[in-house]
């Protein structure tokens, strides 16, 4: 669909890019990158300002020319964040550009990739719903339910099978299926409420997050709590029923196999959304609900289907969290569902885009751990960046304006007026779908 548009676009950059990618994809890419850079800049200022107000005995950084002392060094924060997330491949402050002793199979990169794997599933979960025009803010709750379903299923089945690798494969398969069913059911509830009672899914999914967290907590606390555990958690699932770490150190909680499964899911979902008739129905009802219904799409059923699929993906994210990261269900579940919103929006709600977006956000999450080890800056910084990135991606007009003023990004931005037409043209999946 991009060819006739591209021919009419006068910009050089657009003409260069058009043969390779859909122009709106290129534009989204530029906006995503710009949004990340801008949120990093705002985060920089935030670290600087809070470093001025916070109290410390010695200044970590002194601003050139002014002599003002700051408690936090914003440059160091970002160096630690990005370099640390990859396991310090770059030598900073030492001779040479690269660390000679660096290998890709280090602990820090393992932690980053572990986060990436989990974010792939939650990002896909949010993206599928978005493509159908639904805001699934409930991936967090679906992940909680899916994780519990997985843990309980594996724990219940494990004694029935002889311990060993074959049982491990069976348990991982059945456990993941249980997670998908659990998350799918939890996602189907807001889907049905939206389709048949017109209840806004943003609010119902957020409420269901609270319900899921509380109900799962009580179930584990009262019924499934491990003997003698100091925290609210189930027993550990057997070692052989967990994803095994290949190449990476076991303490990184990362299994290459799980990442490969995630990538396979990305491919499958891309095919489903772009090349199947059900996927087509899903996209058209996301872009133009009325037109889709006129074309014979059962809008209500599509809504329920999309939310069920979205919930199932969130549930599988929970399964992977149990079977790869924790080895058990425990009450303090990280905010993976909310991070999934950022990943999806950063990816332009495109399944293929979820991979780089999840890796990028995985770096931020992995780097946050390093920030916690090596600096005094609170690791909550990454949660701020999460919100800022969404905000900036949501305002493409801002970047187009900057592009017009500077004349740089004009090519990628194309003409401003193309935005709405593209949405209506069936391309779909824009953040404003």
């Amino acid at each position: 669909m991009s060819d006739p548009d591209a021919d009419r676009t006068p910009s050089v950059l657009a003409r260069l890019v058009a043969p390779f990618v859909d122009r709106s994809v290129a534009e989204r890419l530029v906006i995503s990158v710009a949004a990340i850079l801008l949120s990093i800049a705002v985060g920089f200022a935030l670290v600087l300002v809070s470093g001025r107000i916070a109290q410390c005995s010695t200044a970590a950084w002194t601003m050139p020319f002014t002599g003002l002392g700051f408690c936090y060094n914003p440059v160091e924060v970002y160096v630690v964040l990005f370099n640390g997330a990859l396991g310090y491949p770059f030598a900073v402050g030492e001779p040479g550009l690269f660390n000679a002793g660096w290998t890709p199979f280090n602990l820090s990169l393992g932690l980053t990739l572990s986060e990436t794997t989990l974010l792939i599933f939650t990002g896909l979960s949010v993206a599928v719903a978005f493509r159908a025009g639904l805001f699934n803010i409930g991936t967090q709750g679906q992940l909680v339910v899916g994780a519990l379903a997985t843990a309980l299923t594996v724990l219940a089945l494990a004694p029935l099978l002889p311990a060993g690798p074959i049982a491990g494969v069976v348990l991982i398969g059945v456990g993941t299926a249980a997670g998908a069913v659990g998350g799918g059911i939890w996602g189907a509830i807001p889907g049905a409420l939206k389709a048949y009672a017109d209840a806004n899914e943003v609010i119902t999914t957020i409420m269901l997050n609270f319900v899921a967290a509380n109900v799962a907590y009580v179930l584990v606390l009262e019924v499934f709590r491990a003997e003698g555990s100091s925290v609210v958690a189930t027993r550990y699932v057997p070692e052989y029923a967990q994803f095994r770490p290949w190449l990476f150190p076991p303490s990184s909680d990362f299994a290459l196999l799980a990442l490969l499964v995630g990538v396979a899911f990305i491919g499958a979902l891309y095919y489903f959304v772009e090349h199947t008739s059900v996927g087509y129905d899903l996209r058209t009802s996301g872009v133009q609900a009325a037109a889709a219904e006129y074309g014979g799409v059962n809008a209500k059923l599509t809504t329920v289907r999309a939310m069920t699929l979205s919930g199932a993906l969130g549930g599988i994210g929970g399964s992977v969290w149990v079977l790869m990261s924790e080895g058990r269900w425990m009450a303090s579940i990280p905010d993976l569902g909310f991070d999934g919103i950022t990943v999806s929006i950063l990816a332009g709600n495109n399944p293929i885009g979820v991979l780089p977006a999840a890796f990028l956000f995985g770096i931020l999450k992995g780097g946050a751990l390093e920030i916690g080890f090596r600096t005094d800056v609170p690791t909550e910084l990454v949660a701020v960046l999460r919100g800022l990135i969404i905000l900036f991606v949501a305002m493409p007009e801002f970047f187009r304006m900057i592009g017009r003023y500077t004349g740089v990004a004009g090519g990628a931005g194309g003409a401003v007026s193309t935005g709405p037409e593209e949405t209506a043209g069936g391309d779909g999946g824009e953040t404003d779908a």
Partner: protein, 348 residues
């Protein structure tokens, strides 16, 4: 598309026409029934329940918990009536809750600034922070034509990250230390009532209210008579910031602490506020009723825990959330302003 004789449509009609009356009659009826049953069978579960509902401490915590829900709900009405759906109310509550506690601790309880006592400064700081964030949201939505839902979610997530971040910077943990003083429930109740009456007057009795409704229903008409749609929408969103700021500050100062763990102390009250004004059908008085209902449920669960029924606390805490979902499912589609959620391009 919708069949006018379908059950939902019929139900919707009844709800819209006699909306406030049925809400009032239903609530009052339920409360009276509970009271009668409680007097008749004082030793039964009804006795306990009516004891809870009619106790002063439940009333006090209802007032305390209703403040953020009702005030943010009133703010949501102004924003949405003007045509901007503000789903970031939760974020405005979170940021004002933190900043008010921070300001109070910086000034020091018992000190004054320009003759204003510390808690007064705290309120003003909370309102300023919330209004600032609302202004950012307004610029992003109105100037940069962002999708309102996504921008609202961003406002929520930014506040959800920023408040614990700042709390860790200033106080060394996501929860602030307790200030040692708190604002009494009378203040919360007074603020809620004043804001409700004020909002009703502003919406229904002033030219500004007319402009606000026109900006949401028919922005072109408003533009034609020479009133700037953007300015009216800015005013609507900023008002939602001011009101949410009062609500968030009142919530935190009524305890004297900001709790930033998990979903922070606000715990979805901003989203419940949205349901409250939808339930109240954009009427401030209906919003007050719905907000008090939700807050009352929350207050009751606190009391229920103390009575020691063999139900785990955490399960009782979910009751308000489940009720919100049920209410939303029953209310279904309300009369949302025609042009809400859409960007308006001024025609020259």
């Amino acid at each position: 598309m919708r069949n006018p004789l379908s059950p939902t449509a019929v139900l919707g009609g009844v709800i819209e026409s006699d909306y406030l009356r049925s809400l009032l009659v239903g609530t009052v009826g339920a409360v009276v029934l509970l009271g009668v049953l409680g007097i008749a069978f004082p030793d039964s579960v009804f006795g306990d329940f009516s004891g809870i509902v009619f106790s002063t401490s439940t009333g006090a915590s209802t007032a305390r918990l209703a403040a953020p829900i009702v005030l943010a709900g009133l703010g949501g009405i102004f924003a949405e009536k003007s045509g901007v759906i503000n789903i970031g109310l939760e974020g405005l509550l979170i940021i004002s809750a933190f900043i008010s506690v921070y300001a109070a601790s910086v000034v020091g309880v018992g000190n004054t600034v320009l003759g204003i006592p510390a808690l007064g400064v705290a309120f003003l700081a909370g309102i300023a922070a919330s209004t600032f964030l609302a202004a950012v949201f307004a610029v992003v939505c109105i100037e940069f034509k962002a999708d309102q839902i996504i921008a609202g979610l961003a406002v929520w997530l930014i506040a959800l990250g920023l408040a614990p971040f700042m709390s860790t910077v200033f106080f060394g943990g996501v929860n602030t230390p307790n200030l040692g003083v708190s604002v009494g429930w009378h203040y919360s109740a007074t603020l809620v009532l004043l804001a409700t009456v004020g909002s009703w007057w502003l919406l229904n009795q002033t030219a500004f209210g007319k402009h606000l409704r026109a900006a949401g229903e028919n922005p072109k008409a408003l533009d034609t008579v020479g009133v700037s749609v953007s300015k009216v929408r800015y005013a609507g969103v900023l008002l939602s910031g001011v009101l949410s700021g009062v609500g968030g500050s009142a919530l935190a100062l009524s305890i004297g602490q900001f709790v930033g763990s998990g979903e922070t102390m606000v715990q979805g009250k901003g989203f419940i506020a949205i349901v409250a004004y939808l339930f109240g059908n954009y009427n401030p008085i209906g919003t007050l009723g719905a907000g008090v209902l939700f807050a009352g449920l929350d207050a009751m669960q606190i009391r229920l825990q103390q009575l020691g029924y063999a139900v785990p606390d955490t399960l009782v805490q979910t009751i308000p959330y489940v009720v919100v979902i049920v209410v939303l499912a029953l209310v279904g589609r309300t009369q949302i302003p025609e042009a809400a959620g859409e960007h308006y391009e001024t025609e020259d």
